[in-house]
């Protein structure tokens, strides 16, 4: 099957454009409005910052490797963990997932581009310049310590530390402005994805025939509209405080730092779902293909995703159990958080049921998705534990919390992103990534992951708080911290194998053909890489698995699907 072109209307053989000079090539990427090129730009940009954020994490871990360590200064340490968090959430997580969305959503629904190609390019460049602005603070943010200064108050930037009197330089201004700029870009892309999905579906692609990937990105985009904007609003208030002497978060004039904490988590909690839902989306495509079964419980998956979208708007104060809310408030947020667990559980069971009885092949994408399932389960369980207010009073802001959310962000999201790379790289470049290197990548990375993040739970239970510069010996933390740091190095090796695999495959990988995985969604009906117009003739679909219908004319899905 894999070396044939699927005769879906429109899959003309790609006419490769002639290679011009370097300058023409560069110009082409800068002025492009093609959703596929912009998707690749997003992803490359995010990969770059993944490495930057990774180096920051390594420095943090080196500092914490042994007690009483002084590899970097305390000031530098504060900047590193702030920039690490901000980078990973805003410059890696969001752009990489929006990159996948940009590339895949239009092809999957049989469209030729996004609804607003120029808005798409504009949004990308806003995001890109936001990132540069944030990092310029290392050079230009004349701050407290007399040199260039990056933001250093944590990625949640709690008041009153952000006020003029405590952050006198420009570091907070860089932080706020950079995120406002990239936030506009994010909202632009979200609007674009919504309009594309609703208004550009090809003939026959009803809502309930859309691939789950597209469904999830529709939910994510809708969620983004009401998630990023509160942060923008709060940051505008912060800038008003800092520049015009307003008093939103200024306790001396009666303002309330609590207001900032609420506003930040009204953004912050839905934000983590904005990050995780696209990861689910990738798993939704990969798991069925490698289990050779249609996804189990499609309507339940859609319902659970929409359900998560709504409930995630009403759980934010589970980040605030220790700031002193009323017991009614605490109870409400305990219960609403548990409800999110129910929806998530539905999804996990559906993935398992999809795999159940399938003829599974553990190619690299599937390996990563299996790892994701396992780790996401544990992450969800520690989440439920932290959602119990008394437990949280004990462990809030300890390494147990850090372990919980890294289990999700690395153990689930990054794993799915890796799966997405191995799965769609052949489509985007026409070449396969190496399976051998892929398996090395998987095993090295996952061993490092468990060394670091399993251990973090224990050091957290033993009382080690987050964001500390160094610690006393003989508290039972020494060996554990050493193991965490070694695990971090192992993970770094895994990532380097991955990067090498990417580069190698790009130039030397074996040719992929249009449909290397024998998959079922529309992107595999185009040549690899797809031509600029995607489909010469608009495709028409009649079921959730249009390519299955073509490949099995005697047993098409549309006979059974409602």
């Amino acid at each position: 099957m894999s070396d044939q072109t699927i005769p879906v209307s429109g899959s003309l053989q790609a006419a490769y454009p002639e290679r011009g000079t370097l300058l023409e090539w560069l110009h082409g990427w800068i002025v492009t409005v093609d959703h596929k090129k912009l998707g690749i730009l997003y992803i490359t940009y995010a990969l770059f910052f993944l490495l930057v954020g990774g180096v920051e994490a390594m420095l943090i871990r080196i500092q914490l490797m042994v007690p009483h360590n002084h590899v970097i200064s305390p000031e530098m340490y504060d900047e590193l963990f702030t920039m690490h968090g901000t980078t990973m959430v805003f410059l890696v997580g969001m752009p990489i997932l929006f990159g996948f969305a940009n590339y895949l959503v239009p092809i999957m629904i049989g469209a030729r581009d996004m609804a607003f190609p120029r808005l798409n390019a504009f949004s990308f460049w806003l995001t890109a310049f936001g990132g540069l602005l944030l990092y310029y603070s290392f050079l230009g943010g004349f701050g407290l310590y007399g040199m260039g200064n990056a933001p250093d108050v944590g990625w949640f930037a709690y008041a009153p530390l952000t006020g003029k009197s405590f952050s006198p330089g420009h570091n907070m201004d860089y932080w706020a402005l950079a995120l406002i700029v990239s936030g506009f870009g994010t909202v632009g892309t979200a609007i674009n994805i919504i309009a594309t999905t609703v208004s550009l579906r090809c003939k026959g692609m009803t809502f309930f025939r859309m691939p789950l990937f597209v469904w999830l990105l529709l939910v994510v985009s809708a969620l983004t509209l009401v998630t990023i904007t509160p942060l923008t609003a709060a940051q505008v208030m912060l800038l008003l405080d800092r520049y015009l002497g307003a008093h939103f978060f200024d306790a001396q004039a009666g303002g309330s730092p609590m207001l900032w904490i609420h506003f930040f988590w009204i953004f912050g909690h839905p934000e983590v779902y904005v990050l995780v839902l696209p990861a689910f989306a990738i798993a939704n495509e990969v798991i069925p293909v490698f289990s050779r079964k249609a996804i189990f419980g499609y309507p339940a998956m859609v319902a659970a995703s929409v359900g998560i979208g709504f409930t995630s708007l009403a759980v934010w104060a589970h980040h605030m159990f220790t700031v002193g809310m009323s017991s009614a408030g605490n109870s409400f947020f305990v219960i609403s958080t548990m409800v999110v667990g129910i929806f998530t559980g539905i999804k996990v069971f559906n993935w398992l049921a999809t795999m159940w009885g399938g003829s599974i092949t553990f190619s690299t994408p599937m390996l990563f998705c299996t790892g994701f399932l396992f780790q996401f389960l544990i992450a969800g369980l520690t989440g439920i534990m932290l959602a119990v207010a008394p437990w949280d009073w004990q462990l809030h802001n300890s390494y147990f919390l850090i372990a919980h959310f890294h289990y999700v962000l690395v153990g689930a999201i990054i794993m799915c992103i890796f799966a997405g790379f191995y799965y769609w790289f052949p489509k985007a470049t026409g070449r396969m990534m190496s399976e051998t290197l892929g398996k090395w990548h998987f095993w090295v990375f996952i061993i490092g992951f468990h060394m670091s993040f399993d251990t973090m739970h224990f050091v957290g239970l033993l009382g080690m708080p987050r964001s500390i510069y160094t610690y006393e010996p003989n508290r039972g933390w020494d060996t554990l911290n050493l193991i965490i740091t070694i695990g971090a190095f192992v993970q770094a090796v895994g990532v380097l194998i991955f990067v090498w695999n990417l580069v190698h495959a790009y130039f030397r990988g074996k040719l992929a053909g249009p449909d290397p995985w024998d998959a079922w969604t529309l992107e595999w009906a185009t040549p690899s890489p797809p031509p600029a117009y995607n489909f010469a003739v608009e495709p028409e679909v009649r079921s959730r698995r249009p390519l299955w219908d073509i490949k099995h004319p005697n047993d098409p899905d549309w006979k059974y699907e409602q």
Binding site: V187, V198, A222, L225, A246, A253, P546
Partner: protein, 194 residues
């Protein structure tokens, strides 16, 4: 291998992407306004010093102008749909005038508050939340006015015709939204909070 089945029987009409996008933008903007409204309400009556909301005069005329501009822009929308371009231009221009009146009204209001009552953004919590909420809304009106004026200019140069009706209507959704927000702001600031 056969080709995909053709099924001309299913009608296939999708919503306009412009409208969907504008609705999405409106949702996003509403979230921004909500936070400023929440901050305003949260800080009502918490000041220990400085002017209080009792210094405010209700901007009734301004409100009437802004709200009626929603009506005039609606008439303009209908006019362009029917291809009556003169009527469109006239009502579009009236909309701009009404919007301008609103902005000028806001400027005078701010001036009096600053000069007569000493209410500035750094005076106290009331000043902080008042100027940022009302100012945020006024900024949206200004942005709307720029858009409206551009469209008017294109109309006067004869570049706008009936085929643009859909786009004009999408733009008007923004203006209706700004007007609707004013109803909320007015209620919160000049009725509930006073």
């Amino acid at each position: 291998m056969s080709d995909l089945p053709i099924f001309a029987d299913e009608p296939w009409i999708l919503p306009s992407r412009g409208r969907i996008a504008m609705w999405s933008l409106i949702v996003a903007e509403s979230a921004i306004f909500s936070l400023f409204v929440v901050a305003y309400i949260y800080y009502i009556g918490r000041d220990q010093f400085g002017p209080t909301p009792s210094v405010l005069d209700r901007p009734i005329l301004n409100t009437v102008c802004l709200l009626s501009s929603s009506l005039t822009i609606w008439i303009a929308e209908r006019a362009i749909e029917q291809g009556r371009m003169r009527r469109f231009a006239i009502f579009w221009a009236i909309t701009i005038l009404l919007g301008l009146k609103f902005i000028i009204g806001t400027i005078t209001e701010f001036r009096t508050l600053i000069n007569r009552d000493g209410l500035t953004i750094d005076a106290n919590l009331f000043g902080t939340t008042f100027y940022s909420l009302v100012g945020l809304h006024a900024t949206h009106v200004l942005v709307g006015l720029v858009g409206l004026s551009l469209i008017l200019a294109f109309t006067l140069f004869g570049k706008v015709n009936r085929s643009h009706a859909e786009r004009i209507q999408v733009f008007s959704m923004y203006w209706h939204f700004v007007d609707a927000v004013w109803v909320v702001v007015f209620t919160v600031v000049y009725i509930v909070g006073k």
